[in-house]
């Protein structure tokens, strides 16, 4: 039995490719650009990296994607794989990188997530994404289910259970916008109100257009290594103090209760390993492709009671200066469906390097991801 890897693994570099809803980029170019940025941030060359883990781009699918990225970056990989966990892929990538390093199979692993879903799909993005998907699901597609529709089914159930209202969901979008409005380059930064969200087009009830993130092209990467090695690198050391995965069935109809247990399962593991509780966390970066996803994530992560997620966002708790500043970049609701966005931001917050939306004195950050409509989840706790 080896000693636990937690506390001995660090995230030593972070980087992004420009997120865009207008410029067509390939998923490979975006992964390479983000990977180069993460390595430059850490001050290492590709020759000093010995593992590559990528997500599997859905809008720009490719055979053996992680091998292509390793080839392009000329990384002498001893560990290489593409993960197929949708929005949970970046977090899973960090976990598998950490496991490979702890096992002694690699010492420094580049984890990338990228996709090309924005500008290349003209017109109706829901239809374009469906058309790009090469498979048909027997249990969902014959009925015209969409991705927003899946989250809508979860939202409707949440409202039924707790007497929640569409205003609760809208509060999440308004809170995200407040973080975005402080950033000059944010793509969505005009003032937003609950009424504006409720007045936007209905997509799948109760989700309006402004309950849904924009569809974008993006790339993000982090460099995972040992704490020992990270100490020799330029950036301040940020450790992985605890993490966990959660898994529920793929089909929403087959999940015992909604919301699925995946986030709760992942959080229980992460908090248990790190030996901290939700009230110890200084900032949370959670999956928010849809308002309902972030709302339920905050409940499932233990930042409020079940049913109180809407009030948490509406009451200013998730704002800078609140009890748990959340999605300080403005999240996916601002930037587009860049699932990886939570990771570089959590690292920068712990470094004290998050710019205008830095949480003063942040020592512990939580990063969370969801894959498939809440089928998979990863929770990570990062600290100095």
């Amino acid at each position: 039995m080896t000693q636990s890897m937690y506390g001995r693994i660090a995230i030593a570099g972070v980087g992004e490719a420009a997120i865009s809803t207008t410029q067509v980029r390939t998923a490979q170019d975006l992964a390479v650009e983000a990977g180069l940025a993460a390595m430059a941030d850490a001050g290492v060359s590709p020759r000093e990296v010995d593992g590559v883990i990528t997500a599997s781009p859905a809008g720009d699918p490719h055979f053996m994607f992680s091998t292509l990225v390793a080839e392009a970056l000329n990384i002498p990989a001893r560990v290489n794989m593409a993960i197929q966990a949708a929005g949970a892929s970046p977090g899973m990538g960090v976990l598998y990188a950490a496991r490979a390093i702890a096992a002694g199979d690699a010492h420094t692993v580049l984890v990338c997530e990228s996709d090309s879903r924005g500008a290349k799909f003209k017109g109706d993005k829901i239809q374009a994404m469906r058309a790009a998907r090469p498979w048909t699901d027997d249990w969902e597609d014959p009925f015209g289910l969409t991705v927003p529709g899946k989250y809508a089914l979860v939202a409707q159930r949440w409202m039924h259970r707790f007497g929640g209202r569409p205003e609760d969901l809208a509060a999440v979008a308004v809170a995200a916008r407040q973080h975005a409005m402080r950033q000059p380059h944010a793509p969505r930064k005009d003032p937003l109100t609950v009424d504006k969200v409720l007045g936007s087009a209905m997509i799948a009830s109760p989700l309006h257009a402004l309950d849904c993130c924009p569809v974008a092209d993006w790339g993000g990467a982090v460099l995972v290594t040992t704490v020992e090695r990270a100490r020799d690198l330029r950036p301040p050391v940020v450790r992985l103090l605890g993490a966990g995965e959660g898994h529920s069935p793929y089909h929403l109809a087959d999940i015992d209760d909604l919301p699925p247990a995946a986030t709760r399962q992942s959080a229980q593991a992460a908090f248990g390993i790190a030996g901290v509780k939700p009230s110890d966390i200084d900032t949370a970066q959670v999956f928010d492709a849809f308002t309902i996803a972030a709302l339920i994530a905050m409940e499932d992560l233990g930042f409020c009671e079940p049913g109180a997620g809407g009030a948490l966002f509406a009451g200013g708790d998730t704002a800078l200066g609140g009890s748990i500043p959340t999605n300080t970049t403005g999240g996916m609701l601002t930037w587009g469906n860049a699932h990886v966005i939570v990771l570089p931001e959590a690292v920068r917050q712990v470094r004290g390097d998050a710019g205008i939306n830095q949480v003063a004195g942040a020592e512990l950050a939580l990063a969370h991801g969801i894959g498939g409509p809440m089928a998979l989840a990863v929770t990570m706790i990062l600290g100095k």
Binding site: F143, T146, A204
Partner: protein, 137 residues
Amino acid sequence: MSDTPIPAKPSPSPGDATAPFWAACAEGRLRLRACTACGARFTPTRAACGCGCTRLEWVEASGRGTVFSYTVVHRAPDPAFRAELPYVIAIVALEDGGRLMSNVIGCAADAVRIGLPVRAVYETVGEGVGVPKFTPA
């Protein structure tokens, strides 16, 4: 004037394990999988019961149930559904066990509620393949 043909909706392409479910739907019947050890019943996405038993049998189900959750879809995933917008997608909890993703049809979209009693109706979509839909009971 629009005489562009509406493309076909996606239809199931069953494997051996699930073909009897879709074939029964084409005959106007609903079948579920049942565990021979503990009696649990579920939809055929599962090849093993949660109790660990892998010997499952087909049982007939009433097709009655209630709406567990629903959404009214205003933006379709492909043009085949556009003529029906807005339409209702629901997860139906079957009285005999298990849940199915489906549509609620035959009523106004705003009449659908969680807990609404529904019954299965069937549409044949291919050779030996039917899909279950639901309508207020």
